[in-house]
């Protein structure tokens, strides 16, 4: 069971603001899904390796060479919040 307080904590971790009124509704819907997920407890996975990926591949390496990159103006074109070639945000600390 996920509590109202845990919902707010997870919201903080995920950077999604959740007000007190919403956290009850979230807890209810999230719990119905978590209940369903609980059925995996029935499965014996002793000695079973996890599958992160199905592709039969190993690390892909490439030479550390300088190649052409996207022009700065294009990278910054999708925001009005910019200054001297940088993205501009409110203060972080």
């Amino acid at each position: 069971m996920i509590t109202k307080e845990e919902v707010e904590h997870v919201g903080w971790l995920a950077r999604i603001e959740i007000d007190e009124k919403e956290s009850d509704a979230y807890a209810e819907k999230l719990n119905s899904v978590l209940d369903y997920f609980g059925q995996l407890d029935e499965v014996d996975t002793e000695g079973v390796e996890p599958t992160y990926h199905v592709a039969d591949i190993v690390n892909v390496f490439r030479k550390d060479e300088v190649t052409e990159s996207m022009p700065q103006e294009e990278v910054l074109a999708n925001t009005e919040h910019k200054q001297e070639g940088n993205f501009k945000t409110p203060k972080i600390m």
């Binding site: 999604i16 603001e17 979230y26 999230l30 899904v33 996975t45 390796e49 199905v54 294009e74």
Partner: protein, 475 residues
Amino acid sequence: MTAWTDISGIRHKIADSSAEEVTASYIEKIGKSRINGFTRVSEEALNTAREIDANGHNGPLAGVPIAIKENISTKGLSTTCSSKILEGYVPPYDAHVIEKLKEAGAVILGKTNMDEFAMGTSTESSYYGPTFNPWDIERVPGGSSGGSAAVVASDEAPISLGSDTGGSVRCPAAFCGVVGLKPTYGCISRYGLISYANSLEQIGPLATNVADIAALMDVVAGYDNRDSTSINRENNYSDALEDDVKGMKIGVPEEYFGEGIDTRVEKATWDAISNFEDMGATYEKISLPYTKYALASYYIIAMSEASSNLARFDGTRYGFRANGDNWHDMASKTRAEGFGDEVKRRILLGTYALSAGYHDKYYLKALKVRTLVKKDFNKALENVDVLMGPTMPTPAFRIGEKIEDPLSLYLSDINTVPINLAGVPSISVPCGFADGMPVGLQIIGKHFDENTIIRAAYSFEQNTDHHTRRPPEVE
């Protein structure tokens, strides 16, 4: 009633008139549409068509219009994942598949509606409002690539691209009565596909017929070093277009006919399998015992990956930004206002499943169950050539019927998500009707054996006429 226009029909029309006229006729049709399948039409489409006319019709798709899902990056053409958080975002680059389509001479007609960030089975969670099923506008088109399927079904585009994380190409293909392919994981580069659950998803083609699916695969599949999971493997998909399934061994998983299946869907599926027998194939009933647990495993993995992939949408570099006193406040408000309810639920659940104390119980457990699901497929496909079952357990449901209850919506993905966990290819083809709504037959193959399922689907199409019926919106 006229037949569907396939790629070769379009190419004849272009030869008789021009790519510009053909593109203009689709744009006119989109303008009159009642299904809300397109989110936007490209302002460049007519120019591109004119250039193709001026330069001679070179390339396998020269002048052929195509619709692209809202989550596939198109340079200069807005790509929003049907979310408020990406409102106004215009990609500065093309996805690999778009580069390939342009090289082949295709005309990017516009972008199609989807469930927000591809999280859904009904295309109801879009910021742009729901797309309607052209067979009955009170019903959903399926999802998440609902726009891509609906516009092909209603002849507003001859072909389209969608993406399939847990059934998002096959489900709407089944609900809208068109053909849709989820290729083997690694077959098509994901470069430029905005990630939702990157270990599960593949871009996939939708069309009115199997030959067009193969033609599209011949263009968009192939190695790309910008996707580290891209597999270097040559294949010609159109070579598989043979009407011959003599001696083909079909496995029919009993779990795909489980609780909640519509009896008319069940009948249409078995009728299709009988058709295959008449055509010289044989079938046996088989079991994929871990199917029951696939859904929970899939959703835990998809939500966990989503919580990480969607972290980049924080108002800093593109899209919507809310006001805040500091960065954390700004990002938290941006995400609270910019994401819809289902997206927020999935990010929260994914964050929870990965958080200290719950990681082993949920995420690691789901990955181990994934191994067992994958082994089910490997074992079954040692003895048979393909697996067949219903793509969806029911025909398209009504708009508003399931959207308020996330779990009931998740349960409708029971026959499609195991395929993504295993990474195998699967195609959905029309195989009949239930209550006037199309039913899809799902044909599943071995890793990188697209050609066998394409051959099976093509043979079925040549010997039946389900795919020739068109929805009332087109008549």
